[in-house]
């Protein structure tokens, strides 16, 4: 009977999961929760000037101080969570879905299709990311859909290259040859034989790319070319309040900490993913 009361902890499911990984996951889940429930827990409307002082210090009224217009920083960070994580997540999913699919197709089809696609995407990757962002924003302006597509386009070639390299390796394995000799079609080979075997590394890669996208997005916003006022992601919050830097104002420090906490914990989680316990002696 006691069996039913046991929680499915990682160890009981046959996984080991160290503390660095657990802390990383906890912080990620924390920011995910903030992004979802943000509007209900923000103490002040993020756009309202609520403090008479600008660059106000931390106080019981304004936990993280106030910004250059006297708006509450805590509320603005909570609202910024949605922009930063939402845009980055949408972009990374677009980039990886496209990259992985194209990568697997190129690996299996091979030949001139593979060569041409690889060359083209490599060339595209030859444009430094932030620079590409600058050029696009200069050309067509900045809006959230454009940011998402631009960021996805920046990171698709890298994802393609990564997935293709993995898929090329799997494709030479005998079980794929067996499937081919059995007469299996293209779809089966890609989805059933190759995809499950590259999924693990691809997910880890997705996490790393998410970090890069958060960084580039913050960079763009910091340059004033990302999320446009009155909305603000974390990078834009730093830009708005950069004047407060020489005063050591909390308004510029806390958004920076928010970015760092998210990116560092994603890195920590990926470096310490739960590993399946498997013993040679078994």
């Amino acid at each position: 009977m006691s069996l039913a009361l046991r929680l499915p902890t990682p160890a009981r499911l046959g996984y080991s999961f160290n503390w660095a990984g657990r802390i990383g996951l906890a912080v990620i889940l924390f920011w995910a929760a903030i992004a979802i429930i943000g509007p209900w827990i923000a103490p002040y409307p993020p756009g309202d000037m609520v403090d008479f002082d600008y660059f106000g210090p931390m106080s019981s009224q304004f936990w993280m101080g106030s910004d250059y217009l006297g708006r509450d920083i805590l509320s603005r960070i909570i609202m910024g969570t949605r922009y930063t994580t939402g845009i980055a997540l949408a972009a990374v999913i677009l980039a990886c879905a496209g990259g992985v699919l194209l990568g697997m197709i190129a690996a299996v089809v091979g030949g001139w299709f593979d060569t041409l696609l690889s060359r083209f995407l490599d060339a595209f990757n030859g444009i430094p990311h932030l620079l590409f962002g600058l050029v696009v924003v200069a050309a067509v302006g900045s809006s959230i859909p454009i940011l998402i597509v631009t960021l996805a386009a920046m990171y698709l070639p890298g994802s393609y290259r990564f997935a293709r390299a993995l898929a090329v390796n799997v494709n030479t394995m005998d079980f794929v040859t067996v499937a081919r000799a059995r007469g299996e079609g293209f779809g089966h080979i890609i989805l059933r034989e190759i995809f499950p075997n590259i999924l693990g590394p691809v997910l880890a890669d997705l996490g790393l790319r998410f970090v890069f996208i958060v960084l580039v997005l913050s960079g763009l916003s910091f340059l004033g070319l990302g999320v446009q006022p009155p909305n603000a992601d974390w990078g834009a919050l730093v830009r708005e309040n950069i004047e407060g830097l020489s005063l050591g104002a909390p308004a510029v420090i806390f958004p920076s900490i928010a970015i760092a906490s998210l990116t560092i914990s994603v890195n920590m989680f990926i470096d310490n993913l739960p590993t399946r316990i498997r013993d040679r002696s078994e």
Binding site: R119, F120, G126, I127, S218, G224, L245, I264
Partner: protein, 319 residues
């Protein structure tokens, strides 16, 4: 050391690929800046312009010609140093760039000189004594720097060195540079910030490249011959890690490009990157094109150089 014909064929191939890449990149830049934004003449004259004025300007600027023709003449201009006129201050782009380019090159050069030796030494040392306190310290520091945006490294540097310690001026280029001391102080902040960003990448990649070669049977063999740890790494692992390390250095130096954009903005440094960010806010397209091409060409040159070193250091291609 003799090189076989295949080596030179490979080198030639790399150069060819670099040229093709450059062509694709320049088309992408041209496409983004000339075709995406819509009618340049309308942008220039503003919304109040009469249709006749717009049509006149279009003809004068050659905008009526087919896109491919404009692209080719633009390429020709680039090749001969004719970079066009800035929309905003009606100056030749080449003149605007010349002084700025030197500033940026100086910044990048100093950073490279500082970073490469330090990063290689730290990366190799961390790999050599893998798992030691040095390795752990270096790993934690590099991962922290990599995980945060470049502007944060820069702002943190200002916070520490200028605000709390008060050693250096926060914004370096408002003041005149009179003496060597002034110049050092002026360059210190941008160089420090950029060095952190670039060397963190370089250390990590160097460490990974060396560790990969340390885990090979021939390095284990050196151990079984009685070689010391230093000999194992320096004589056996390093020569084989040369290619990957060259790649690591080139890839991390390319972070200079991203880093330089942020750092020049934060410190108000009069370089190409700052010029470009300003051009983006004023939508000065010819200026943006030229700046983008400068960055792309330097990035490509670095990557291609690294590839060449990797090819030339591959012992299998030796005769």
């Amino acid at each position: 050391m003799l090189r076989s014909a295949t080596t030179w064929i490979l080198v030639g191939q790399r150069l060819g690929i670099a040229l093709i890449t450059l062509l694709i990149v320049s088309f992408a830049v041209f496409f983004a800046t000339e075709l995406l934004p819509g009618d340049v003449a309308e942008i220039l004259l503003g919304q109040a312009a009469t249709p006749e004025a717009v049509a006149g300007l279009r003809t004068a600027m050659g905008l009526d010609e087919p896109a491919i023709w404009r692209f080719l003449s633009w390429l020709g201009g680039l090749a001969t140093g004719d970079l066009g006129m800035s929309y905003v201050n009606k100056m030749a782009v080449a003149d605007l760039l010349s002084g700025r380019l030197m500033n940026t090159l100086r910044l990048a050069g100093i950073v490279t000189l500082v970073c490469v030796p330090v990063a290689l030494a730290l990366g190799i040392a961390a790999a050599m004594w893998r798992g030691s306190w040095l390795d752990r310290l270096v790993s934690v520091l590099t991962i922290s720097v990599i995980s945060v945006p470049e502007f944060m490294v820069a702002t943190l540097a200002v916070l520490v060195f200028a605000v709390w310690l008060d050693w250096l001026p926060a914004l370096s280029f408002g003041v005149d540079v009179d003496s060597l001391g002034d110049m050092l102080r002026a360059y210190a902040m941008p160089v420090i910030s950029l060095s952190f960003v670039v060397s963190a990448q370089m250390i990590r990649m160097t460490r990974a490249a060396v560790i990969e070669t340390i885990n090979t049977p021939y390095v284990e063999m050196a151990l079984l011959k009685g070689a010391s740890r230093t000999r194992m790494v320096l004589r056996h692992a390093l020569p084989n890690a040369l290619g990957p390390i060259a790649n690591a250095v080139a890839l991390s130096l390319s972070y200079l490009v991203g880093g330089v954009i942020i750092v020049e903005t934060v410190f108000n440094y009069p370089g190409v990157a700052k010029l470009m960010v300003d051009a983006v806010s004023t939508r000065d397209l010819p200026l943006i094109q030229s700046c983008a091409m400068i960055f792309c060409i330097s990035y490509l040159a670095l990557i291609t150089l690294a590839d060449m070193i990797a090819i030339l250091s591959n012992p299998r291609l030796r005769r």
